[in-house]
């Protein structure tokens, strides 16, 4: 019989206001095996931990139950305390009477009853606990950053700064991401290129950083400290070692049907192209979908004009295998598809553009070289209407339920830039709310209204139609309580942001969780905001949630700090709560192997002695260093041969029985 001590935390009033902690203490005193029970205001504090340590020494406790917050919060704290008092840390169990009880109940009698039941379950489990010893694994001192936008670049630069090797995998031909497409950046209005391109150069020239552009992550195996990743370097059909980036081929290429991704399809590019002049690496890429030579065998003009002989039509995709200790998700964002919002006429009228297209139309390196012209007739626009929250904060199901966070500020920026450059224009902004929480943000917005005379209208646009070459914008002014009709030359839609579509598949490869909007989930929203719940996976930039550039850069650096903290270690302590296979019960069916997300299970042919019967059987084996203890195998195994140390089927059944008693 275990000698169990039970420690009930008040968590200030978090628990004590809803759960009668004295009643819980009294109730569980008589549970079998409980030799000591106490409650305290903050069990995680130094005094609280001392209470536990002293009781372990005084009563010779063999098991500890702490009734407190979620184990994700303080399990590690209490295990450490127990260890310091000489108890195996895995003899500690947490009964979550905060998140699972006090926070979700109002009735004190009910909540107290539930807290007692949860405590009993934990006590029942501790009776079956056994001391576990952790193993160790090495750390590969190299990080992988998936995504080469500003988030990925900043994270990589900071990791490299600390002296670790870091690779960036970027699926497009250049790093730079969305920020490279922007014109000016709020709230200081410095030009995006001026602050981004030097960082891109830094990333390229840093000898600790390797860039894999036009590449994608193909597969990920392994676990924290020991990821094995294969990266597909897609064929550019250009030898990047030879290409000088002179651009001769891109100007001579006769195929002009491909839409320029960099210019948001507002102009065409050649089949061989360099996304933009400051691209890194500054080398050409052939788009096989549009290349005349690749489609018909004719043309080959680029090959003829290339004095460096860099064109290689026979180039194949290349697979690079590399080991990493940490992986950073910096897969970024896109604007949502506006097909569902046809009331704005985006698909019908060329003068209705998204904000990102508008950035290109204002940009000196854009299709109009920075002169704002209507896409339909290349005339100067006089009246512009900006519509905010297109698909953001939309619970109708068409758009996204969340606030995209950046639109209020960039719309204010757009409006201000237009008025500054073209004082003859009238600029209207339709908004639901203007949200400007950020340093110097509200001042920035007020400048747009007060100094630049932008007309802000609280209300939503209902419909955009055309009449005699003008766009008729119908909307409501909620403050004046009237309907408006504005004759506009251009309409700019602040479309909601969404995670890049690659996020979901990459997250699956990494076994990192995503939320219902496909944003990456943090290990803890407040206390571990740049880590995924999956060990060794870190989050940077928009992949985790909507954020602007200042916030992205700070988060990217925070992410780098966490990666550096991991890579600085020589060894990691493994989780001893791993699966184990009972070879006499194993059927050899392979179902556990199939469900294991970590590739920790393999099968061997082994001679077993099953109660005197000697025979060779196909048997599952667990690689304990790779197993993460998720338990998928244990619930899949029909015969119960697979079990999880620390979470055995018997322990869980004992908890269920204690609850249903």
């Amino acid at each position: 019989m275990q000698k169990i001590g039970v420690f009930i935390c008040h968590c200030g009033t978090n628990i004590a206001a809803t759960v009668d902690v004295e009643a819980v203490t009294e109730a569980i005193k008589n549970e079998p095996g409980v030799v000591y029970a106490a409650n305290y205001q903050y069990m995680c504090s130094e005094n609280g931990q001392a209470l536990i340590k002293n009781a372990i020494a005084e009563y010779g406790l063999t098991g500890v139950v702490v009734c407190s917050c979620s184990p994700r919060m303080h399990e590690a704290t209490f295990r450490k305390a127990a260890q310091e008092a000489g108890l195996n840390p895995y003899m500690v169990e947490i009964a979550n009477i905060r998140e699972h009880c006090s926070w979700i109940h109002k009735d004190k009698v009910e909540a107290t009853e539930k807290a007692i039941i949860l405590a009993r379950a934990a006590i029942a489990k501790v009776h079956l606990n056994a001391p576990l010893i952790s193993g160790q694994s090495d750390v590969t001192k190299r990080a992988l950053v998936i995504g080469g936008g500003i988030a990925g670049i900043q994270t990589a630069l900071d990791i490299a700064e600390a002296g670790f090797e870091v690779d960036i995998v970027e699926k497009s031909p250049t790093i730079g991401g969305k920020m490279a497409q922007l014109d000016k950046t709020f709230p200081t209005l410095d030009c995006a290129a001026c602050i981004l391109t030097p960082k891109m150069v830094d990333a390229k020239s840093n000898d600790k950083i390797t860039l894999y552009t036009y590449s994608e992550v193909e597969s990920v195996k392994g676990f924290v400290g020991n990821f094995e990743v294969s990266i597909r370097k897609k064929a550019r059909y250009v030898n990047t070692d030879l290409c000088t980036g002179c651009g001769e081929c891109t100007t001579k290429c006769p195929s002009r049907k491909a839409k320029s991704e960099f210019n948001m399809g507002l102009m065409n590019r050649g089949a061989i192209y360099i996304p933009f002049a400051q691209a890194i690496p500054n080398v050409a890429t052939i788009d096989p979908q549009y290349c005349i030579h690749m489609k018909t065998g004719k043309c080959g003009l680029c090959e003829k004009v290339c004095s460096a002989h860099a064109i290689d039509f026979k180039q194949q995709d290349e697979i690079v295998e590399q080991k990493y200790g940490a992986i950073v998700m910096a897969t970024g964002f896109n604007l949502i598809n506006l097909d569902q919002f046809d009331e704005f006429g985006y698909s019908k009228y060329p003068d209705v553009v998204t904000s990102l297209e508008f950035e290109r139309l204002m940009n000196a390196a854009g299709p109009t070289e920075g002169t704002l012209l209507r896409p339909s007739n290349h005339e100067h626009p006089h009246t512009l209407v900006f519509v905010q929250c297109v698909g953001s904060r939309d619970t109708s199901g068409c758009g996204k339920p969340y606030c995209s966070k950046i639109c209020c500020m960039y719309t204010a920026k757009h409006a201000m830039l237009v008025r500054d450059k073209y004082p003859d224009t009238e600029v209207y902004v339709f908004y639901i709310d203007v949200r400007t929480p950020g340093k110097n943000f509200d001042e920035f917005y007020r400048r747009a209204v007060e100094q630049y005379g932008v007309h802000y209208i609280k209300g939503m646009v209902g419909k955009v139609t055309d009449k005699d070459g003008k766009l008729i914008v119908q909307g409501s002014d909620l403050l004046e309580n009237k309907q408006l009709k504005i004759e506009a030359d251009m309409v700019v839609l602040a479309a909601a942001v969404e995670p890049d579509p690659s996020a979901r598949s990459v997250a699956s490869m990494l076994t990192a969780s995503i939320d219902t909007n496909d944003f990456m989930t943090e290990a803890h929203a407040k206390l571990r905001p740049v880590e995924s719940p999956t060990a060794g996976i870190f989050l940077s930039g928009m992949a985790q949630g909507p954020k602007d550039i200042p916030e992205t850069v700070s988060q990217a650096s925070a992410c780098a700090a966490k990666v550096i903290g991991l890579l600085a270690k020589d060894h990691l302590v493994n989780n001893p709560c791993v699966a184990q296979s009972n070879e006499l019960r194993c059927n050899g069916c392979s179902n556990c192997e199939k469900v294991c997300p970590y590739g920790a299970i393999s099968y061997i042919e082994k001679e077993v002695n099953d109660h005197g019967v000697r025979e060779v059987r196909r048997i599952a084996q667990v690689n304990e260093a790779v197993c993460q203890g998720c338990g998928a195998c244990t619930v899949t195994c029909p015969s119960g041969a697979m079990d999880l140390k620390g979470f055995s089927t018997n322990q869980i059944m004992a908890e269920v029985d204690a609850i249903c008693r």
Binding site: S508, I514, T516, G588, C589, S639
Partner: protein
């Protein structure tokens, strides 16, 4: 038909393709056929008719581990179970020679009796008619009126796997009743009604374990219900509700692997419609993960045991309709 099969297996035994045959022989009663392994000289006892209902796949787990090669006579629906066991590495394929036998749907002796026919001594199948010899004289019945329930939603006349198929020349049985009809009815009940339905059915259980022992998916070397270390064994004795849970847990254990062969309900001496539990899982799997027939394709990925990078989080499977 029996003669055709005997001729074929004699030939295969003679040319040393295999050294024995897994087939059916008569049991205590003529309608109570039972699986048996025959050597060449024992083939006289081999029978194949409407009462050759037992699914032989499961017997190959043991049989295929022995020396030599065994001929397995498999009806079309038995081949699904065979494939599923191959996928789970339970049958040594190299030691089995599969002979596909055609099926016209199995007969249900109880349905024949329910027609008021008593004192049955033998039944002969003649085309679409059954010639029934009774102590009160000869009676006839249309075959299709007394088909086993499971065969009313037949998976088809195709063998999913076979080294050789015997053609009978007779029209194949392919009834296509909606196999989810009763599941839908149960789904439409209130939870109290459904609870009452299953308590009623499952309380008939005498725990003879016939369902488990016949089930090709229930082929663990040691069943958790027999394993003292699992601690569930003792529990089922605790009260009748725990006892009822046996079937529900068993349905969970075979979910995604059950081929819907219907053996569980066929052998249940208490007439419990156990297959409905399995069909509920099959229906849910079809809804959430796309239609899947266990054992149809040996290369297929099991819906509950495979995952790919397009899968969504489990919590949102339902929200997105499984896509």
């Amino acid at each position: 038909m029996t003669e055709l099969i005997k001729a074929k297996v004699s030939e295969l035994l003679a040319n040393q393709t295999a050294d024995r045959v897994l087939g059916w022989k008569k049991g205590e009663f003529f309608y109570d056929e039972t699986p048996a392994v025959f050597q060449a000289e024992e083939l006289d006892d081999l029978v194949y008719d409407g009462f050759s209902a037992p699914n032989l796949s499961k017997y190959l787990i043991k049989e295929s581990k022995k020396e030599g090669k065994v001929i397995a006579l498999l009806k079309p629906c038995d081949t699904y179970s065979f494939n599923q066991l191959i996928m789970e590495h339970r049958i040594n394929r190299d030691n089995v020679y599969v002979v596909g036998v055609p099926c016209r749907g199995n007969l249900d002796i109880n349905k024949i009796r329910e027609k008021g026919i008593k004192g049955i001594q033998s039944i002969k199948e003649q085309g679409d008619e059954l010639i029934i010899e009774t102590i009160y004289g000869t009676k006839t019945l249309p075959r299709e009126e007394v088909i086993l329930d499971r065969c009313l939603c037949c998976k088809g006349s195709q063998h999913m796997v076979a080294d050789e198929v015997i053609e009978s020349g007779e029209p194949a049985w392919e009834a296509k009743a909606d196999r989810f009809e009763m599941v839908t009815k149960l789904e439409n009940m209130t939870s109290d009604e459904r609870f009452a339905f299953w308590r009623g059915e499952l309380s008939k259980c005498i725990r003879c374990n016939a369902c488990r022992n016949v089930c090709p998916a229930c082929s663990c070397l040691q069943c958790v219900f027999d394993d003292p270390a699992s601690k569930v064994q003792a529990k089922s004795n605790a009260d009748d509700f725990e006892e009822n849970m046996f079937h529900i847990i068993r349905a969970f254990h075979v979910a995604g692997r059950c081929t819907d062969c219907g053996e569980c309900s066929r052998v249940c001496p208490q007439g419990i419609p156990l297959h409905l539990l399995n069909r509920k899982f099959i229906k849910d799997i079809d809804t959430f993960y796309g239609e899947y027939q266990a054992g149809a394709d040996i290369e297929a990925k099991g819906p509950l045991t495979e995952f790919n990078k397009d899968d969504v989080e489990p919590s949102i499977v339902k929200e997105r309709g499984g896509k």
